[in-house]
Amino acid sequence: MTDMTQLQPHEGKGIRIPAEAGIAFVLLVVMIAGAIASPNFLTLSNMFVLLLNGAVIGFLCLGQSFVLFTGGIDLSCGSVVAMTCVLAAVFMEYVGLPWPVAAVLVLGFGALAGALNGVIIDKTGVPPFIVTFAMMGVAASVPQIITGAESIRVMDFGYRFIGQFKLFGIPFPVIALAVAVVAAATFIKRTVTGTHIFAVGGNVEAARLAGVNTSRITILVYAISGFCGACGGLIYGSRLMTGYPTAGRGDELFFSIAGAVVGGVSLFGGIGSIWGAMIGATLIATISNLMNVLNVSAYWQPLVIGVIILVGVTFDTMRSSSRLSLPWVALLKRKFSASA
């Protein structure tokens, strides 16, 4: 769980293995297997490609995690990507705004769409599934209505910065995601609101009774998810220098949820961590990159990704429920307690 548990256990003896270790280990295994299978896989440049291509799913997964922590679900995040991607192009090309203004405006729009989800869920008590389903429809339709099937080419070349700029060889979206993840993890762990998010997910009635402003938390998490969706829209838009209405409407929604769940976030709320979710998303991005690098047949890809993830999560689940014990864990434990 979150914060205070990370403090030294007062018994003192033994080290505590973080809950994320299991799935991180799975990721490591996949990486090593990939490196053995192809010399092109574990290169610095391919790692950046992997992370760059995973950045949008990473952002969505980040936002989705906040929502899942409270026991909600956000089906609209993929469509928000589409909407914001087109809106950004509209602002630059049709309205004529400079790209930084357009970008900020679009982030605001994303957060607003998310907040609207939150407000409706909070005020009406309609299940998040339905509310965000409706928002998914709306956010999917808006760009199609604006552009038809066409896409809008962006001619403001400064816009490239977001998706294509590199700092010391690291693509900007990767840097932005890293910053966002650290900020989010700190926020969740170290602030009052972060604890309250988990309280709402753990038991909403108890949280309310303990004085948590549950409405505010609900609106906040959906707004964060919407904001993350807008980040995704900008990244796609800028990488392709186009506003196109199918952006983010593929596997993105699905993988954003799957990444979080693989990383140990519960669909029922109150369980999981940002780090876990990000490791989960990275795992999915890695497998999907690896399959392309190894040229796995498209027919086999769904099977391969499904089976690897199932095996990985099963291993993780068994480990944490200690139906299975890892030799290296026992070893580490022995070593630490010896030196203590």
């Binding site: 979150t2 403090l7 007062h10 033994g14 038991n203 108890a206 303990a210």
Partner: protein, 497 residues
């Protein structure tokens, strides 16, 4: 020789030993009382006996034959049933469905719904419960749920029945009657019963044998006339608390009126006129369902106010939501800790400081170490046992209750509303809690306590008021004018309005 016997039972959770070689025996037609401090391992032992958890080591034998219980289902098939401490009803099934869950009456593959309904109705009526058996359990009151669960298990075909604190939510009358039922059924049907409770007086009247656990070991056993209350108390309290001293009551200087409620009515509350003063403990007594819980929840902003006025320290107060109530200096302890008490997967430290986290904020970030230390201090002061940095749900029932009390203490509120504060708490800690209540009052705070334990009210309250049918209109009387009998009599008297 017919009996259910456990020998050398050990159990540990993630390396922490909870039971260290327990020997225990239940005989048909007798009631075996099981006692011990919070976290002593009573519930764990029962779960092992009922097949809900596997033991690490040790053997279970029924009638001399070794049994392996892989699941509660297998235990039930062997005639071993259990009522667990945490209520185990399925909220969205009806009362009748819950009563028959796992042992439905069928005909040709289909449920005999009508038959089960009728039977449930008569059954509940025979226990004095007037409940529509086609309603879902979700909407019932806490005491009703507890009664239904116990009744369901009494009705089963069990030869051995384990009851883990079956009377915590019930009032004195109800628990006496329920235990009388248990006694009767045990004798009539030759059932072996194990009864876990912290209400010694109540239970000892029906017990044939008594065992006390302490720290996962049997520290006391006696049967028949050898059973001595004082010995049990000593065994429970052990050295940790020294001798259990009856609380000292001294006259206090009572301050001016702090809480003034006039004609308060809500959707489910009819009318309450109550005044509570600074430096006083005001007790609220009434039968189950008389409106005490509703009154507290209304004050705390959990239920809408329809009519009436409230003043706190002379200023008008309009409850809107719990956050606002906390901001107005009110703290509230809920009756059902599992429903809206603690966050199950958060650590006990987090649960304690949940309402007061803001206090530990430095430059926007929570001072985690500081918050944790404060929480630990509070929890230690009320003798909380168990892994406090692990999810609260893994604590024993009584310790969970203490975590919630810890939150109340943390809040440092001026008006403290306590709904059944010592539910499931062991006798040692109970006196600690009474001490804390007294300390809070001495600091000039105002405390309102709802309790179904008359002894408790008489022991800690300065004045006691009576609720009836959702009304509270009579002036509270000083505790000196009340006795247990008088309290019951007043609660039973015909409604004033």
């Amino acid at each position: 020789m017919s009996s259910y016997k456990a020998e050398g039972i050990t159990k540990s959770f993630s390396g922490v030993g909870v039971l260290h070689g327990i020997d225990f025996e239940v005989r048909p037609g007798t009631i075996h009382g099981l006692f011990g401090h919070n976290g002593a391992g009573k519930s764990t032992l029962l779960k092992i006996l009922a097949g809900a958890q596997p033991q690490d080591d040790g053997v279970l034998t029924v009638d001399g034959g070794v049994v392996q219980l892989a699941s509660p289902r297998e235990a039930l098939a062997q005639g071993i049933g259990c009522v667990y401490q945490e209520l185990r009803l399925i909220p969205n099934l009806t009362v009748a469905e819950n009563l028959f869950l796992g042992r439905e009456v069928t005909l040709g593959g289909f449920k005999c719904t009508a038959e089960m309904k009728n039977y449930s109705k008569t059954l509940l009526a025979s226990y004095g419960l007037n409940i529509d058996v086609t309603r879902t359990v979700k909407g019932l009151s806490h005491p009703e749920k507890q009664l239904i669960e116990v009744i369901a298990n009494l009705e089963g075909k069990a030869r051995f029945l384990f009851l883990d604190e079956p009377t915590t939510a019930l009032d004195g009358n109800q628990s006496t009657e329920l235990l009388a039922h248990v006694r009767r059924i045990a004798l009539e049907r030759n059932i072996g019963v194990v009864l876990v409770s912290h209400k010694l007086d109540e239970v000892l009247t029906v017990c044939d044998e008594a065992t006390v656990l302490s720290g996962g070991r049997v520290v006391y056993y006696a049967a028949g006339t050898d059973v001595s209350k004082q010995a049990i108390v000593d065994a429970i309290v052990g050295d940790a608390h020294g001798k259990h001293i009856a609380a000292q009551r001294e006259a206090r200087a009572v301050g001016d009126v702090f809480l003034r409620v006039q004609g308060l009515a809500g959707k489910r509350l009819k009318g309450a006129d109550i005044e509570a003063r600074r430096g006083e403990v005001l007790g609220l007594y009434g039968l189950v369902g008389s409106g005490r819980t509703r009154f507290l929840r209304t004050l705390y902003g959990m239920e809408p106010v329809v009519a009436g006025t409230i003043e706190i320290a002379g200023k008008p107060y309009q409850p809107t939501n719990p956050k606002h109530a906390i901001g107005s200096g009110i703290a509230f302890l809920t009756e059902e800790r599992k429903i809206d008490g603690f966050i199950p997967l958060m650590s006990s430290f987090q649960n304690v400081v949940l309402s007061t986290l803001i206090k530990y904020r430095r430059n926007g970030f929570v001072d985690i170490a500081g918050a944790r230390a404060a929480a630990q201090r509070t929890l230690t002061s009320i003798g909380t046992r168990g892994r406090l940095d692990a999810p609260t749900k893994s604590l024993s029932g009584g310790n969970q209750q203490k975590v919630l009390l810890g939150r109340i203490i943390e809040q440092n509120a001026n008006l403290v509303l306590l709904d059944e504060p010592t539910k499931g708490v062991d006798i040692g800690a109970k006196s600690d809690i009474y001490g804390i209540i007294r300390r809070l009052v001495d600091e000039g705070r105002c405390i309102v306590v709802v309790s179904s334990e008359e002894e408790e009210l008489v022991e800690i309250c300065d004045r006691i008021a009576i609720f009836q049918h959702g009304y509270c209109t009579t002036e509270p009387k000083p505790v000196g004018e009340w006795s247990l009998a008088k309290l019951r009599e007043a609660a039973w008297a015909p409604a004033a309005a």
